[in-house]
């Protein structure tokens, strides 16, 4: 690019990125503090608050629940989302136009409303276990990501390969597993990872679908913050940030992070 950018704009951009990254560095610092209260810059360095996470029963339990819900809801979304994305790409003419809108509905409808409606009209109305509502709520939450990422991978898939396999006598299911799936593998990995992190971080759906006995990590964090102001929350936040870094590394390797800027 030959066009020059005004120095003031560059200075502004530097400030914006300091604004974006700074608060997260502060959280990291606060997590390492050796004090019993939250402070930055950290006073004394210690990992004791990281140990503390695993000494609190509620954190241990909610970490397990969050990982479980994230894994299961992502698997559900993949198992039903991949065929849906395939159908939208391959059989578009047979399907009504509103179908693709239906699959992005979970993004359009406020998450709070979805969470509350699942509580009121599923869990309470039919007296069904809250875990089911939480699981399906999360599956819905991540479905649009799966459909979108897989659709994007399918867009660059050459369907004539699949036709070749079928015309040579390969049964449909075998064709799917041996031809299609390996070709969109990076899309599947990226979809899995994005869906997983979205579920792990969710507050708005889970807030209505948790309670005594069943809670997720973000909800437990909110509850802990209302009572304590110690560095435990900061150290859990750091664990979540480490997870984020891992996620980004995987997305970068599969789809490239620029995919997210689309």
């Amino acid at each position: 690019m030959t066009q020059k950018i005004h120095p003031l704009l560059i200075a502004g951009t530097v400030l914006v990125f300091m604004f974006l990254v700074g608060p997260l560095i502060i959280v990291l610092g606060a997590a390492l503090s050796d004090t019993t209260y939250l402070t930055f810059p950290p006073q004394g360095l210690s990992l004791r608050w990281f140990e503390n996470i695993f000494q609190i029963d509620a954190f241990r339990r909610t970490i397990v629940t969050s990982l479980q819900i994230a894994f299961l809801s992502t698997m559900i979304a993949l198992v039903i989302g991949i065929p849906a994305a395939y159908a939208l790409n391959r059989h578009r003419i047979q399907l009504p136009g509103w179908l693709s809108t239906l699959f992005i509905l979970p993004v359009l409808v406020p998450e709070l409303v979805l969470g509350f409606s699942l509580l009121k009209n599923l869990a309470v109305q039919f007296n069904s276990p809250i875990y089911i509502s939480l699981l399906f709520g999360h599956s819905l939450l991540v479905l649009p990501y799966v459909v979108r990422v897989i659709s994007a991978s399918l867009a660059s898939f050459d369907f004539s390969i699949e036709e070749a396999a079928i015309s040579l006598g390969s049964p449909p299911l075998k064709t799917f597993f041996t031809i299609l799936l390996p070709n969109v593998r990076s899309g599947v990995i990226a979809a899995f990872i994005l869906a997983f992190i979205t579920s792990i971080n969710d507050v708005s759906i889970s807030i209505f679908l948790t309670g005594p006995g069943l809670s997720t990590l973000p909800i437990q964090l909110l509850a802990h913050m209302e009572q304590f102001f110690d560095p435990t929350v900061a150290s859990v936040s750091v664990l979540l940030m480490i997870l984020t870094v891992a996620v980004m590394a995987i997305v970068e390797r599969t789809l490239g992070l620029t995919f997210l800027a689309k």
Binding site: V16, L24, F103, L105, K120, L260
Partner: protein, 274 residues
């Protein structure tokens, strides 16, 4: 036979959305019209209550302020990012994606540390002698707006980088070669071409702020009640499910109306669509 293939493959996902989203949400909305007091009674009591009207107006205000600030910051930053050399661009995109993928609780919590009574901002200002005693910055509308802007700026930057990269370079070069100054090119070529993207970004930020829960809960508390926190309180603290359903219905209608209206406006204003 082939006619059914599409539907067979799409039906599990369709079923999930219909059974676990469309029906429960519709049921929530329908119950607001079937109360014994008459079909619109809950809405009369919602809009008749000064407190709830204030909450609605405040939510709109906070969301508009967040959207406006995020638009300006996001657009200027995205402009610089989209013109940055390759390696720098990757670093900047990573720096924007990282907060985006970090959860809302963590990002709001960061501002709790910064804006608290013994927070970094207060202690810095105190040690500089700019203030005599710590200010209470938490539980104010300002705190909520700052944290919301923080929440949504990465989304805006990434959306707009995508849009700005889609603008053909020829147009910018043509404008320059015809003698337009960079500022004129920016205002008369780049900006109009980015309008549809700006609208998409604005819709994402506005609806996101309008329906947010964690940020107003942590940084606004009872003092800065917003639609999301009010809905939670009605549903889970006072157990007034009719009132909570009414708030839910108002949220759905406003969100979907804005999305439909603005996507239409964005299509109209797209200068590339001939």
């Amino acid at each position: 036979m082939k006619r059914f293939a599409g539907w067979t493959l799409a039906s599990p996902a369709t079923l999930l959305v219909v059974v676990f989203l469309v029906l429960p949400v519709l049921a929530t909305i329908v119950t607001t019209f079937t109360t014994p007091a008459g079909p619109f009674a809950t809405y009369q009591s919602f809009f008749g209550s000064g407190f709830r009207r204030t909450v609605l107006m405040r939510t709109i205000q906070v969301s508009l302020a967040t959207t406006a600030i995020a638009l300006v910051i996001g657009f200027l930053t995205a402009y610089v990012v989209s013109r940055a050399p390759g390696w720098l661009k990757s670093i900047l995109i990573i720096a924007a994606v990282f907060p985006l993928l970090t959860g809302v609780v963590v990002r709001s919590f960061a501002w709790l540390i910064i804006l608290g009574k013994n927070g970094i901002l207060n202690s810095t200002l105190l040690s500089l002698g700019l203030i005599g005693e710590p200010m209470s910055m938490l539980y104010t509308q300002g705190a909520v707006i700052v944290a919301m802007v923080y929440l949504f700026v990465p989304l805006m930057i990434l959306t707009l980088v995508g849009v700005l990269e889609g603008i053909p370079d020829d147009l910018i070069q043509a404008s320059a070669s015809l003698g337009a100054k960079p500022s004129a090119t920016f205002l008369q070529v780049t900006l109009p071409l980015a309008v549809p993207g700006l609208i998409v970004g604005a819709v994402l930020v506005f609806t996101g702020s309008f329906t947010s829960y964690a940020t107003p809960q942590l940084l606004g508390g009872e003092q800065v009640m917003m639609m999301g926190t009010l809905m939670y309180q009605q549903a889970m603290v006072t157990f007034d499910w009719v009132a909570a359903s009414t708030i839910a219905a108002v949220m759905v209608v406003i969100t979907i109306a804005i999305v439909l209206l603005m996507t239409r406006v964005a299509r109209r204003l797209n200068p590339m669509a001939v």
